[in-house]
């Protein structure tokens, strides 16, 4: 319990660090909201605008003010659209979450089995294909793959759409038509990673004594697979999976750009260029929180699976 509390404490500390970094980072960028949106206004007018939008005073004063409001649950208002920041983000969250979820599904149902197969038949060509393709998948920048798909599917669409979006409310099939290509693009690095991890952990298990012993005991291949190989391969993959999950939520910027999707990633990029400080701040904090929490949960799970971790931490 203490271990879990401590992990959560560290997570909170990390998020606080991210919040501080993003706040001051944004203030360091030259050109404020007033400079960008009222370029023709006189200096006095721009100052008046800054006061109107609560952007006056030193960065430190603003930071303290902002932090105070944040802790009271006030996430602020977008400078540009004058709507609550949380609305702006929540509006785009379904798309980004769905992409992340689909990407994870692709990784789980394609990458993991491929990795296991590649590891099981380690003397055959399948294994070499597995090894090289995992390296290859990790070598394709997702915007390169995305561009390729946009090109390929604009010419011959096979019913899939490279660009644009139909929300789930318009039916699953309609939605998937739009979601498949970006989700696949997003999954590519994780796919390679999970493939490689599953493969190497299967390879590691296969060589171990207890498998050989099981074989000599005459255990059926099916049992060996389900009792030994699969389970042992799963643990490191779960860890990797958590990392990938955390990364996906923050990693959709490029995919959303390439496929012209209006998700959280693009919102953040646009908000940086618009100096929409409140949106960037909350968006980055949320993304970081997603990352930290998935990792913390994985960490705690890992602690449960492997008690040595907790023991070590409790001294």
């Amino acid at each position: 319990m203490l271990f879990i509390a401590a992990r959560l404490g560290l997570a909170a500390l990390t998020i606080a660090g991210v919040a501080t970094l993003v706040f001051f980072g944004m203030r360091l960028i030259p050109g404020s909201y007033a400079d960008l949106f009222f370029p023709l206004a006189s200096e006095a007018d721009r100052e008046a605008i800054s006061i109107e939008y609560g952007l006056d005073g030193s960065a430190l004063e603003q930071y303290i003010l902002w932090l105070g409001k944040l802790l009271q649950g006030d996430f602020g208002t977008s400078l540009v659209t004058n709507k609550p920041v949380i609305d702006e983000i929540v509006q785009r969250l379904p798309l980004t979450l769905e992409l992340g979820f689909l990407a994870l599904m692709i990784i789980a149902f394609i990458g993991f089995p491929m990795g296991i197969i590649s590891g099981m038949f380690h003397k055959k060509w399948t294994s070499q294909v597995g090894r090289h393709s995992s390296t290859f998948l990790m070598s394709i920048p997702n915007f390169v793959l995305g561009s390729l798909l946009v090109y390929a599917f604009s010419v011959n669409s096979l019913g899939l759409k490279a660009g644009g979006w139909a929300p789930l409310s318009e039916g699953l099939m309609e939605n998937l038509k739009y979601a498949i290509l970006p989700a696949f693009t997003l999954s590519i690095t994780g796919l390679g990673l999970v493939l490689a991890t599953a493969r190497s952990s299967v390879l590691g298990v296969i060589g171990q004594d207890h498998i050989l012993a099981a074989v000599s005991r005459g255990l059926s291949p099916k049992d060996i697979f389900s009792k030994h190989i699969f389970r042992n391969a799963l643990i490191p993959v779960i860890t990797i999976f958590a990392i990938v999950a955390g990364y996906l939520l923050g990693g959709t910027v490029l995919v959303e750009t390439v496929f012209s999707l209006d998700g959280v990633g693009r919102l953040l990029v646009n908000s940086i260029t618009r100096r929409d400080y409140p949106v960037v701040q909350i968006g980055v904090i949320l993304t970081a929180t997603a990352f930290v929490l998935t990792n913390t949960i994985a960490d705690i799970l890992y602690g449960i699976i492997d008690p040595r971790v907790t023991e070590k931490n409790d001294g």
């Binding site: 030259p30 400079d35 023709l40 659209t81 709507k83 660009g163 644009g164 318009e170 693009r266």
Partner: protein, 522 residues
């Protein structure tokens, strides 16, 4: 509700109609109430509207929407001729401009517009922070409502830009009663005016949904709903046009739009000449700038190969201009610096004996601007100058160019949004004592100011042209800001789905002018 969804419904509808054998009869019949009911026109564009308050909206992307919602006193036709809008008639009575205000203008919420709305709106606009219209109407003395739907704007002398400048959204009529009561907030995206549409909903970076104003004085719009979507990439716009998720699109100056659209069936393309133009600015104020020396500025102006620029950066699709004279009011051929003269320019640079040949160029973000800057870099290399490009976002650009005095840059490449009358932008933006924001790099020039004031405030009729010509010759010779070319836009639409006639010339970025007359073909 999504337009995608409706797209399917439309197709289904066609099928049903065809089955009944009524197709031929239905299509092409105008004003079929049944057909217009619930119809949606979906428009795609590259940029997003960021500015909300119409009276301080200085970014043209905002006008795309605002033009559909707000009316100004007057409007402009394709030839930049002033046409009636909220005002049905006007006349100069000495130095006073008297408008007759229409009595059938009604806000989208059903309240009839009053004279008070007009006067309060105009005063609000002119006081709005950052609204430069105060400059244009700088010799205005009073705005008064008179009996019988008359409005007078008094000036203390002639003003040759007054009328056409009142066509801008920046001086539109807003629901002032609702603003005072708090029912309407100009800082939100729920635009409401006397125009054909009002905003129903808005998702930033994604779409604006506009509903027809049933009380519109010009007659109920033919299409119920207009959706304006932001699709930041030209290819995605093309894809959306092909698959029918949008009915029409503006390619925002993308020179390759026609090529992108090639082969797409049922697409009509219209080229829009715009009053926007590309320019370079050289810092003739900041200490240490190489451009304090006029001959260096002139050498740079002299090395620009506009024909190559237009051919490569604009795929041949931009208007050639040497001065600020593209409207034909003045004579381009008399400007001192025109065709490139590399030898002479090179000699001038050598004579200037600069401590370094490296020049930092601040380029505003954008594919076309970046291409323009690269062509310029190559031209400048021919006269021995090494331009180092720095492509920055709009905030950094504005801060370093306009928000700092002296400007934190040596040279800039950017684009100005054009307005109807040449005097509005070129002349005024040019004089730092008036435009203020260019003070950081444009030195004051009394000779120019005198010529400008003469053209705007003192001349009448035929006298305007010679003063303006003189002002432009000074600008050209001073070479602090050098125009490169005018921009064009491409509007494309699905001819099988919508009947529309976009304006030929795009005044004030009104890319959807006449939207109330567009008609869905089903």
């Amino acid at each position: 509700m999504s337009d995608k969804h409706l797209g399917i419904n439309r197709r289904d509808f066609v099928k049903g109609v065809a089955a009944l054998g009524l197709t031929t009869g239905m299509l092409g019949i105008r004003n079929m109430a049944m057909a217009a009911e619930g119809s949606t026109f979906t428009f795609g564009r590259i940029r997003e509207t960021k500015h909300l308050d119409p009276h301080s909206s200085q970014l043209s992307s905002s006008w795309h929407i605002q033009h559909m919602v707000y009316d100004s006193l007057v409007t402009l036709d394709d030839n930049f001729e002033v046409q009636p809008s909220i005002a049905t008639a006007w006349e100069w009575q000495g130095n006073t401009l008297v408008f007759t205000i229409r009595d059938n203008a009604v806000f989208a919420n059903g309240r009839a517009m009053t004279m008070e709305d007009v006067t309060v709106s105009l005063n609000r606009a002119l006081k709005s922070k950052g609204n430069p219209w105060g400059l244009l109407l700088r010799n205005k003395t009073a705005i008064t409502a008179m009996d019988g739907n008359k409005l007078s704007i008094e000036f203390n002398g002639p003003n040759n830009v007054a009328l056409s400048s009142l066509a801008a959204t920046l001086v539109c009529i807003v629901p002032t009663v609702e603003e005072a009561s708090g029912e309407w907030d100009p800082k939100t995206d729920m635009f409401m005016g006397t125009g054909p549409y009002s905003v129903e909903s808005h998702t930033a970076n994604d779409r604006w949904v506009l509903k027809a104003n049933p009380h519109y004085w010009g007659g109920a719009p033919k299409t119920d709903t207009v959706v304006v979507r932001t699709i930041p990439q030209a290819q995605s716009l093309v894809a959306a046009l092909r698959d029918g998720s949008i009915d029409a699109a503006s390619f925002d100056g993308n020179p390759d739009a026609p090529a992108l659209l090639e082969g797409a069936p049922d697409i009509e393309i219209s080229r829009l000449d715009t009053t926007d133009f590309y320019y370079i600015g050289m810092n003739a104020v900041a200490e240490g700038s190489p451009f304090l020396d006029k001959s260096v500025r002139q050498a740079v102006a002299m090395c620009i190969d506009r024909k190559q620029l237009i051919e490569f950066a604009f795929a041949g699709r931009a208007g050639l201009t040497y001065g600020w004279t593209q409207w034909g009011l003045t004579d381009d051929s008399k400007l001192p610096i025109r065709e490139p003269d590399i030898e002479k320019a090179k000699a001038m640079i050598e004579a200037a004996n600069l401590p370094t040949n490296k020049i930092k160029v601040l380029v505003r973000e954008g594919d076309t601007l970046s291409a323009v800057a690269q062509v310029l870099k190559q031209s400048a290399a021919k006269i021995g100058l090494d331009l180092e490009l720095e492509v920055v976002d709009g905030g950094v650009w504005a801060k370093r160019t306009w928000g700092t005095n002296p400007s934190d840059m040596q040279m800039v490449v950017s684009r100005y949004t054009g307005f109807a009358h040449p005097l509005i932008i070129t002349a005024h933006w040019w004089a730092p004592e008036m435009s203020r924001f260019t003070k950081g790099y444009v030195p004051e020039n009394p000779e120019y100011s005198a010529a400008l004031n003469k053209a705007v405030l003192e001349s009448t009729g035929d006298e305007i042209t010679p003063s303006l010509q003189k002002a432009y010759e000074i600008l050209n010779e001073e070479a602090v800001k050098v125009p490169l070319c005018t921009d064009i836009d491409t509007i494309a639409w699905r001819s099988d789905r919508v009947t529309m006639s976009p304006s030929r010339e795009q005044a004030q970025n009104d890319i959807l002018s006449g939207v109330e007359t567009f008609e869905m073909k089903i």
